[in-house]
Every structure is written in C-alpha cells, then in structure tokens.
C-alpha cells in the first residue's frame, strides 16, 4: 500500500473516497467531529458495553470474526496460526465489557466525569473532555496495538483518525466493521487510513495541524519527528519503544527444570510477541546462589523454549531478519569460542536461542528480535539498578520471579530505576486493560479537564 489508503471510513454522507486533497482531509475530519457531537449525549458506561460486546466476538472461538482475526494476524505479522491465535485471545481479553469497565474505573473512579460535570470533592466540579478528534499513529508490527488505541479513544468519546502500523492493519478495521453493524453511531467516530509514515500527503498534514491530540506508538525517531511537526499547543501522547526485562531470584531458580514453572512462564513471555513487544523480556538477570548456576538456567530456558515451539511454532521470517539473526548467532559463537565466558544455546537458526553473557553490568545490548533472549548472572537482584541505569528513560515492564517476601523491596528498587511495571513472567505479556501504560493512565492521557464552580 502506498499513499493514504482507507481501511475503514465511516458510512456517512460527504465522506470522501479519495483522500488525496486538502478538501478530502477537511471533509473527513469534519465528519469525525460531527460524529463526536452525537456521542456527547451517550453515557460512557453504555459505550463501554457496546465496545465490549464487539470485543467478545474476538474471544469466541466459534465466531467467524475471531477466525478472520486470527488468520489475518497470522498472515500479516508472519506468525504461526497458533501464535496469532494466542495474541488475538490475549488482546481481546482486555476488550470485554468487564475489561473495559475496569479500564474506565481505574482511570476515572467516577466514570460519569466523562458524561458531564461531577462534584470534585473540594467544592468545585470537574469534567473530562476527550476532544473533537484525535490522530492516533501506530507504527510497527505488534498486532492489536492500534485496535486497543481506537477503543480507548472511543471510551473518552473522542472520534479518531487512526493510522495503524504497517504490520497491524487487520484487527482495528475488523473491530470497526463489526462495531458498524451493531452500533453505527459509534463507528461513525472512527476512520482508519494507512499510509507509510511521512507520506500521508495533505491528510497527514491537515490531521497533524488540526487534531486536538496526537497519540503515537513508535520509535524515538518517530516521536522526535512528530514533536517537530505538530503545533506546540497540541498534546502528544507518546508511547515510544521500550525495553522490558526480567529477573529471577535465587529462591526461584528451580532444581527440577521439567517442573519449572518460572522457566515455562519466562519462555512464554519470550515467545508471545516474538520479542517484538514493548513488554517482551529481552534480557533476564538470574541471581547466583540458586539451585543451578545462571548459565545452566540459560540452558534450561532454551529447553523450555524448544518445548514451547511445539505449541507455538515460530512464524516465517523475512530475509533481512534472518540475516541479522544469523550475524548475531555467529558473533556469539565466536565469543564462546574465544573463551570470554559467553555461551550460546541454540539448535536451528530459525528457532530459539538463549545468549548467555557473563557480565551483569555489560552495556545493555539487545539481541535481534525473534525468539532470542539474553541471560546474565547477577550476585543479587538488589544490584539491578546499576545494570538497568543506562536504560532509565526507556524501561517498561520488569518480570520478577521472587519469593513474596522480597517482591516489595525489589519493586521499590525497580520503581526508582525507572521501571514502569513489575509483573510476574506469566503476566508480563498481558498487562491488564487498566494498566498504567508506560507509567500513565491510558484514558487519563486522552482527556483534558475542565473545572467549574
């Protein structure tokens, strides 16, 4: 696809088929703003249930929508059918009426602030306003990010022009089409148009210049470019690329690998988004002094990854990705041969690899995406800040396998280091719908407040 290419346009008079001119762009954003006016009188809780009912179709294995979603994601993102299915399930769990209700209440203990002025406790009144229309820009290839972003915007009653990432053009349009059948009024507040970043012509220019808010997912470079292009008074909600990692306390280094729940969960966290997600653990620190040494734990993690491949086979890999991965594995093999203490655990080049790095505090180096994870030893997890410090501004989820008695203290340390979410390995890939996305309430980030006496 090149130039603006409409994936979903609201069915309303005056919506242009072509999106190549300034007039088309103005017509589209005008129609979105009008659709927003219709939403103003609806209750947020009712909107949440309307969206949640659509979300349920994506969870039901017998629903044709669900099948279409899984097939589309597998084809687009180069994932195996099983892996794509797991992603659709994981994403859709957050899209249910229950999940969306929780998301709203987590950010707005009194959700009715989205419907009108409400007593604010200090004498005055407050109202949360989503805006006339927002521009949401997805980048990259994690399926479901754009759809979730769309749902969030609708929850705050803000129409949106969504430009999904190149590898994420299936779920959001599919969701919007199902929504159009059940709630056309709500669906009129959605336009989904794809263009390669920077090549959106008048539509991109106009949307960036007139939107009430830009929400962007992508590289630091994308965020930098956007900051330069949007008017200074327009808020930018930036979800830039992030680094997630993990740590295993010595008490959780299991003596019997076959029964290893931590190992299995860590393997699943690696596999779920093929290490492309901002929640994917790229580096795992293993505390010394456990039942097995950190390199042995690395070998066991590799076995767990191999086992998991039967359930979630790896997808197809582009040639450049395969080349980058080969380069990396050869380099690691050279290190291993050179006797630097590095180890590589891998069998087939397209399969998983665990790269063991003996220095806990070596500069943070990221392995190529795909089923590759770096394991490092650490004398004590309390020394993690020294290892994580260079990543301070970009840290996100840290999966922690530790006894309950140590989690509180370690979470404090991690919070001070810049980590925005501490989870278990089991939950690492699937933050709850209400999570503080990159450290901020996901719906809070999409509203402005108006106070009144």
């Amino acid at each position: 696809m090149t130039r603006p290419s409409a994936l979903f346009l609201p069915a309303a008079p005056g919506i242009p088929e072509q999106l190549g001119t300034r007039a088309d762009a103005e017509a589209l954003t005008g129609a979105l703003a009008r659709a927003g006016e219709a939403l103003a009188s609806r209750s947020v809780l009712e909107i949440a249930s309307a969206l949640g009912r659509v979300g349920l179709c994506f969870l039901d294995p017998d629903d044709p929508v669900r099948r279409k979603a899984s097939e589309g994601v597998a084809a687009e993102a180069g994932l195996s059918a099983e892996a794509a299915d797991a992603i659709v399930t994981g994403m859709a769990r957050g899209w249910t009426p229950e999940g969306l209700g929780r998301m709203v209440r987590a950010d707005f203990p009194d959700p009715l602030v989205l419907d009108g002025f409400r007593p604010a406790g200090f004498g005055g009144k407050l109202r949360a306003v989503g805006g006339r229309f927002a521009l949401h820009i997805g980048a990259g290839s994690v399926p479901g990010v754009s759809a979730t972003s769309m749902i969030r915007s609708l929850l705050v009653k803000c129409p949106l022009l969504l430009k999904p990432g190149r590898g994420d053009t299936v779920l959001a349009p599919l969701f919007a089409r199902v929504l159009a059948a059940s709630d056309p009024e709500l669906a009129r507040a959605v336009a989904i148009v794809y263009w390669p970043g920077g090549e959106g012509g008048p539509l991109e220019e106009h949307a960036l210049g007139t939107t009430d808010r830009v929400v962007a997912y992508g590289s630091l470079e994308l965020i930098r470019l956007l900051r330069r292009r949007i008017p200074p008074a327009t808020p930018l909600v930036a979800y830039h690329h992030r680094l997630s990692a993990g740590g295993v306390a010595r008490e959780c280094v299991e003596p019997v690998p076959e029964a290893g729940t931590v190992l299995r969960a860590a393997a699943r966290a690696v596999v779920t988004f093929e290490q492309r997600g901002c929640v994917s653990p790229r580096i795992i620190w293993v505390e010394e002094g456990g039942a097995v040494s950190p390199p042995v734990w690395g070998a066991q993690l590799f076995d767990a990854l191999e086992l998991l491949a039967a359930e979630l086979p790896p997808g197809t890999e582009s040639l450049p990705a395969a080349a980058a991965r080969r380069q990396e594995r050869e380099r690691w093999m050279l290190r291993e041969a050179a006797g630097t203490g590095h180890r590589i655990f891998s069998r087939s080049p397209g399969g998983a690899a665990v790269l063991y790095e003996p220095d806990p505090f070596a500069p943070l180096r990221l392995p190529a995406a795909g089923r590759t994870v770096v394991v490092r030893p650490i004398e004590s997890l309390s020394k993690l800040p020294a290892a994580l410090a260079p990543g301070r501004s970009i840290l996100q989820t840290f999966a922690l396998a530790a006894p309950p008695g140590r989690i509180g203290e370690l979470a404090e340390i991690l919070a001070a280091t810049g980590v925005r979410r501490v989870s278990s390995f089991e939950e690492q890939s699937w933050p709850p719908a209400w999570w503080r996305h990159d450290g901020t309430g996901p719906l809070h980030a999409l509203v402005s407040w108006t106070s009144a006496p």
Binding site: G167, A323, A369
Partner: protein, 403 residues
C-alpha cells in the same frame, strides 16, 4: 577499554611469532604475484581454493580467536576441499574482538567503520598490518574495473589525458581511521598527477561551491574528472545544489559512488540518488559507477559499468571483484549456497585479508549474478519491529542517562 582477549591475542612469544612470520612470507609472495597486472590465475577455482585453504591454516594459528572459532565448529582445515567450506566470521565481530591476530608485523593503520549504530565503542575496527597489500589490492581492482592503468602509470586515464580526482570525503590526514579516505588517497597518488583534492573536512562536510570550482578548473584543463564519494555525500550535494547543476564536466568524466550513508538514516532509493547525481553532474547513469567496499575487507568490488559489463540501469547492475576474492550468496538459515536466482546473505572470501580473517559474513543481502553479485540492501534495521526497542534507541537512551 581493552578487550580481555586483546592480551591473549597479542601473543608475544618470539618463537611462535617467528615461525608465523616464516609461514606468512610465501603467502604474501603468492598474493603479490596474484595482484600483478593482467594476472588472473586465481580465477581458477582449484587455484583459488588451494591458496585460500593455505591461508585458512595460517590464519588459524596466527589468529587464536579465529582458530578457536573454526575448531569450535568441528572443522579440520585439512579435510576441506573447497573455498566455500571456509567458516566466515560475522562482520560485526570486528566491533568487539581482535581479529588481526598475533604480532607478525606491527599494525600500520587502524580503520574503523563509520556506523553510529553501535556507538563509538562498538565501531568495527580493522587493524591493518600490511598497507602495501591493501594498496596492491585496491589499485589493481579499481584499475581493472574502472578502466584505469593498474600500475598507476601515465596519470590514470586510458582516454589519453590525465585524470583529475576529486573526493567528497575527508583526506586520510584528517581521518586516518577511514579506509575509504585512505583508498582515495592512494588513487590520487597513482592517477592524478597533481595529487587530487579532498573536499570534505574531518566531519565529512564539504561545500558544493568548492566542487563547482574544481569542475570549472578541470574543464579549463580538459582533464576528465573522477569524483568519488559516499552515497550520503552525493545526496547532500544533490540537495544543496537545489536543481542548479554543476558545469558540464570534460569528456571521459565519471562518478564513483562508494555506498554508505555514514550512519545516517537512509531515506533515498538508489534510483533516486542516481537520478540526482546524473542531473547534478550532467552525466548519464552509465557514468555513475558503484563501488562496494567494507572497512573489514582490503579488496573492493565494482560494477563493471565502464567496461560495458553491466547494464546502465542501476537496478540491473552487478558487482565484480578481483581474482583473489570470491563472494558466496548464502541461505541465512543453513549457510548453504542460496538457490539459483534466490536472495541470501553475502559472504566474501578476500585473500587480501591475509592478516585478519579472509572469510567474512556480511549483513548485506544479495543475489548471485555470474561471477559477481547484485546487492539488495543491508539487513540492519529491516527486521520486523514492534514496540520493542531497537539497539540504536537503547544507545541513545544510554547516552542521555549518562550525561
């Protein structure tokens, strides 16, 4: 910081080093012979394999890291029967391991890759122990494939009048770590009776006005121009000229584009770049030759364009190397040769890399084309990205945290 392996690899046992020096001498002689003008013996697969395997056996001893790597893979050099079986080191390993081996000769130059991807500490480093080998190799390759006199006699141009060589790069004096600047300096010494001219400063900046003056001057002298520079340099020029082309260059002039965006983000296609260069210099694309070289290799590959050996249309061109090189296109999964007409990763065997490692696995993608290859692009940054961090971003974040 010195890599922990440096001490080990620097091995100074005079007896061991002495034996290696003796073993190296005949190999250097064989290479010198192979690089003589007109000498093509190594085009023969058997001849090439024989010398390549001798060099492999030597490198395994002269270079303990590489030796360990080969043995680690269970490979016994004596059992190999073809150059294709020689295990390559990944090009990115030049960033972190000492691949120049033991001190058989003092290091004469240290070239570094320009990529910012890995930050300064992670730039590829090629410590060159024998610059004369580099010079022999580069003069013969450029001479043959650009139609110049490989011996450097008569001021270069076979068309008659001596060449005027202009580089849109810093001089080797300004950037002693640039193998490209070094190479262009050798060209100028060999083929420009006035010694040529480097236009860029140490930060690779140059003024298009200076180039304009040089073109005018060469017109006055009626000497064909050879303008060499990186892709990024030419693109900068094209943008700076803003559609106002340079004066028409004298007949016989040509441009050599050496690839490379010097770590900058590449936002322009090759077709677009060549169109721009063609307009700027008022030259047809048949006078714009691409050179493919790497800091990690002491030999270069060229499009045999000026010899009529490849189409002028940029997307249909291919590269050829000198007789002491081979390029294999490999399947990234199996490292077996890619199928006929299929894309794969490029693996070069460059025997001029006598003092480092001859077999280098690149990150470049290509397709075999006759005795050479077509370049498709580089693997870096092309992998599917989600919202997970890329290496460059991590480094950027780290720099901020450290400030």
């Amino acid at each position: 910081m010195e890599h922990p392996l440096s001490a080990r690899a620097a091995g100074t046992d005079p007896e061991i080093v002495g034996r290696l020096v003796e073993r190296r001498a005949p190999l250097r002689t064989a290479l010198r012979d192979a690089m003589r003008p007109g000498e093509e013996r190594l085009r023969d697969e058997g001849e090439f394999t024989r010398l390549a395997l001798e060099i492999l056996a030597y490198q395994m001893d002269a270079n303990p890291v590489y030796g360990a790597f080969v043995r680690h893979r269970g490979i016994e050099p004596r059992r190999l029967g073809h150059w294709r079986e020689i295990p390559p080191v990944p090009a990115t390993a030049f960033r972190e391991l000492p691949l120049d081996g033991l001190d058989v000769r003092p290091v004469e130059a240290v070239f570094r890759t320009s990529g910012t991807r890995g930050g300064v500490e992670a730039r590829g480093t090629h410590r060159v122990r024998d610059l004369s080998l580099y010079h022999d190799s580069l003069l013969r390759s450029a001479g043959d494939l650009l139609g110049l006199d490989p011996a450097g006699r008569g001021g270069g141009s076979r068309a008659g009048r001596p060449l005027r060589i202009i580089a849109l790069t810093p001089s080797p004096g300004a950037r002693p770590d640039s193998s490209l600047a070094h190479m262009l300096g050798v060209w100028m010494d060999a083929w420009d009776p006035d010694g040529g001219r480097f236009l860029a400063d140490a930060q690779w900046r140059f003024s298009p006005a200076a180039l304009r003056r040089e073109v005018r001057r060469s017109r006055g002298e009626e000497r064909p121009l050879l303008v060499a520079g990186t892709a990024f340099g030419f693109w900068h020029l094209v943008r700076e000229l803003r559609g106002d082309p340079l004066p028409e260059p004298p007949a016989g002039s040509f441009v050599v584009e050496t690839g490379g965006f010097k770590g900058r983000v590449r936002r322009v296609s090759r077709a677009e770049l060549y169109l721009g260069i063609g307009r700027a210099f008022r030259l047809p694309s048949s006078r714009i030759v691409s050179e493919y070289g790497m800091t990690e290799l002491l030999s270069q590959f060229y499009e045999p364009l000026l010899l009529g050996g490849t189409p002028a249309e940029p997307s249909g061109r291919h590269y050829l190397g000198p007789a002491w090189t081979r390029t294999a296109v490999l399947d990234p999964g199996s490292l077996a040769p890619a199928g006929e007409g299929e894309a794969g990763i490029l693996c070069h065997i460059d025997l001029a890399n006598l003092d480092s490692v001859a077999a280098v696995l690149t990150e470049d993608l290509g397709i075999a084309a006759g005795a050479g290859f077509r370049l498709l692009g580089r693997a870096e940054g092309a992998e599917p990205r989600g919202c997970s961090l890329a290496m460059e971003e991590l480094l950027e974040a780290g720099r901020r945290a450290g400030r």
